[in-house]
Amino acid sequence: MSRAVRWIVPVVALAVAALFPLAAGPYPLAVARSVLTYMALAMSWDLLLRSGQISFGIAGFFGIGAYTAALSALHLGLPPVLSIVAAGVVAAALAAVLGLVILRLRTVYFAITTLALAEIFRVIMQNGGDASGGPEGLVMPSLIFNGEAKALYWTSLAAVLLSGTVSALFQRSRARLALTAIRNNELSARSSGIHIFTWLMIAFVSSSFLQGIVGGIQLQEYGFASPDSVFDSYYTLLPLAMALLGGTYSTPGPVVGALLLGVAAEYLKLKIPYGHLVVYGIIIVLVILLMPRGLYGVYRGQVKAWAGRPGVDRG
C-alpha cells in the first residue's frame, strides 16, 4: 500500500468522528461516547499485550483515575482538565511502584495479580471512609464543560486520539521490536541487549497512564465515582473482547473491535437485561479458537497474500 493511501483511511475516519456530533441526536451521541471510552481502553490494553503480558486489571487503573480526578477536583480544587491529567499521572505512578514487584511475574500469575489489583483498589476505596466517600462514592458538583453533550463527546474523542497516538508511536519506534522480541522469546531478546524489565515497565506504565486518563474523563463526564461503578469488571471485559475481535498487536484493530462490539453492546443491553455479557465470553472463546489475530489481523494477512509476497509487518 502506498504511503498516501495508508493515511487516507485514518484521516477520513477522524474527520467523520469529529463531525459526528453535528449530525447525531442525543442517544446515538451518548452511545458513541461510550464506544470511544472503550476504544481508548482497548488500545491501552493492547499496548501491554504486545509485550506478552495480559492484564485483567484495566478496571483497576481506570477506577483509580476516576477517583484521582474526583479527589483532586474536590479537595485540591483542580480544574477539570488538570484533574484528568492528574488521574493519568497518579495511575502511571501507581503502576510504576506496583510494577517493581509484579512485573517479575509472567503470564498467568501476572494476569491474576492484575485481576486482584482491581479488586484491591475497589476494597480500599470502599473502606476509605470519608476520604474516599466509602461505598456511596464521590459526587461532583458539576460536569466538565457543564455537561454539554458535544463537548463531552469531543473530550472522549481526545482520549481516543491520545491512546491512538501512543499506540502508533509504540508501533513505529523501536518499542515495537523490543516488545515483540520479549513476547516471542525472552532469552533471545536479552541476548540482543534488550533489558526486559525496563521495557515491560514502559509498556505497563504507559498502558496504566492511558487507563487513568480515560477514568478521569469518565468521572468528569458523569459526575460521580463509586467503588462498584468505576471498578466494574465491565471495563476490563469489554476492551479485552474488543481488542481481540478487532485485532491485537495493532492500532486499527482495537478501533474496529470497539466500533463493532460497542454498538452491539448497546443493542444487547436493551434486549437482554441479565447476562448479556455472555456474548462477550462467547466472542472471546470463538476469536481465540478461530481467529486469534482478530479481524484486522485477517485483513493484514489478506493484503500480504494479494501483494504476492510476504510483506514487512507494519501495523
Binding site: I112, L115, V123, N127, G275, I284
Partner: protein, 297 residues
C-alpha cells in the same frame, strides 16, 4: 511459610473463635485449590474458569436438591460425574485446540469460558443468590465458653482427603503416573507410549469433577450466585503459585496461612472489610522473598 502459619496461629490463640474460623476458611480454600494444583501444577493447563465450574456444580446440586430432594452430600457423586462429563466436553471443544498455542491463548480462552459460564447462569437464573436451608449446617459445638459452628470443618476434611487421595493417585496408579510424566515432559511421555492428548483431557475432566464435588458441598452452607466462583479462582491460583508448582501438601499450608490471615484481619474491629485483600499482600511478600532468594544464589 511454616513459621508464618505458626505465628498467625499463635496470635489467634487469643481469639479462639477467629482461629477456628480461620481454619475453616482455610479448609474451603484448600479444597478448591487442590484440583487447581492438579490441572495447573501437574499438567500445566491454565484454567481461569475453575471457580465457575464449581459454581455450575453448586447450581446443579441446588436443582438436585429442589427437584429431586437430594441432599448435597448425596448429590456429590452424581454431580461430580456430571461435571466430569461437562469438563471433558468443554476441554474437547475448546481448550484442547489451544494446547499447542502459546499459554497466552489458554489464559484468554478460559477467561472467555469463565465469563460465558457465569453470564449464562446469570441469563438463565438472574443474579439473585439462592440458598438451601439445611438443619445440620447450623450444628455447633461448645468447648468451655466457646461455641462454634462445626459444619465448616467438613471442608478441611475434604481438603485433606483430596490431598491424600491425589498424592496416592499420582504415585500409585498408572494414570496418575502418566499424568506426572506428561506434566514433566510431554514429548518424552509420548515417546514411551503415553497417550498425551487423552491424559490432558482426562486430567482436566478430573479436576473439574473434583472442584464440582466441592461445589456440591459448598451449596450446603453458602449462598450461590453467578459470580460466586470468581474469587475462588483467583485465590486458588495464588495458593498454587505460592505452594510451588506440583506441591500439593504445600497448598494445604498456604491455605492455612491465607485462612488464618484473613481471619486475623476480620477479627480486628473496623478492619473487617480489608480481609479480602490479605491474600494479595501475601502474594507480594512471597514474590519478594522468592526473588530475593534467587538473587542470592
Amino acid at each position: 511459610m511454616a513459621i508464618f502459619v505458626v505465628a498467625a496461629a499463635g496470635i489467634l490463640a487469643w481469639k479462639p473463635s477467629a482461629l477456628i474460623y480461620g481454619v475453616q476458611r482455610a479448609g474451603l480454600y484448600a479444597a478448591v485449590a487442590i484440583p487447581m494444583a492438579l490441572v495447573l501444577g501437574i499438567v500445566h493447563i491454565v484454567n481461569l474458569a475453575h471457580g465457575e465450574f464449581m459454581m455450575i456444580a453448586a447450581y446443579a446440586a441446588y436443582f438436585a436438591a429442589r427437584l429431586l430432594g437430594l441432599d448435597p452430600f448425596l448429590a456429590l457423586l452424581p454431580v461430580a460425574l456430571v461435571m466430569a462429563g461437562f469438563g471433558l466436553a468443554v476441554y474437547l471443544a475448546t481448550v484442547k485446540h489451544a494446547m499447542k498455542a502459546p499459554e497466552l491463548n489458554q489464559l484468554i480462552l478460559t477467561f472467555g469460558i469463565a465469563i460465558a459460564l457465569s453470564q449464562s447462569v446469570n441469563l438463565a437464573f438472574t443474579s439473585q443468590s439462592w440458598k438451601l436451608s439445611l438443619a445440620y449446617v447450623s450444628a455447633s459445638a461448645t468447648v468451655g465458653e466457646l461455641s462454634f459452628g462445626v459444619f465448616d470443618f467438613v471442608y478441611a476434611g475434604i481438603a485433606i482427603i483430596l490431598a491424600v487421595g491425589l498424592r496416592l493417585f499420582l504415585t500409585r496408579t498408572r494414570f496418575g503416573k502418566a499424568a506426572l510424566a506428561v506434566g514433566e515432559n510431554p514429548r518424552g511421555a509420548a515417546i514411551v507410549g503415553i497417550n498425551v492428548d487423552r491424559t490432558y483431557a482426562l486430567v482436566f475432566a478430573l479436576s473439574v469433577a473434583l472442584v464440582g464435588a466441592v461445589g456440591s458441598v459448598f451449596l450446603a452452607r453458602q449462598a450461590i450466585f453467578p459470580n460466586v466462583g470468581g474469587p475462588y479462582t483467583m485465590k486458588s491460583f495464588c495458593l498454587v503459585a505460592m505452594a510451588g508448582v506440583g506441591n500439593i501438601t504445600g497448598v494445604l499450608f498456604c491455605s492455612l496461612a491465607l485462612g488464618l490471615s484473613e481471619s486475623l484481619i476480620n477479627s480486628i474491629r473496623g478492619y473487617a472489610g480489608w480481609s479480602n485483600i490479605v491474600f494479595f499482600l501475601i502474594i507480594i511478600v512471597t514474590i519478594l522473598v522468592r526473588s530475593l532468594r534467587e538473587r542470592k544464589s
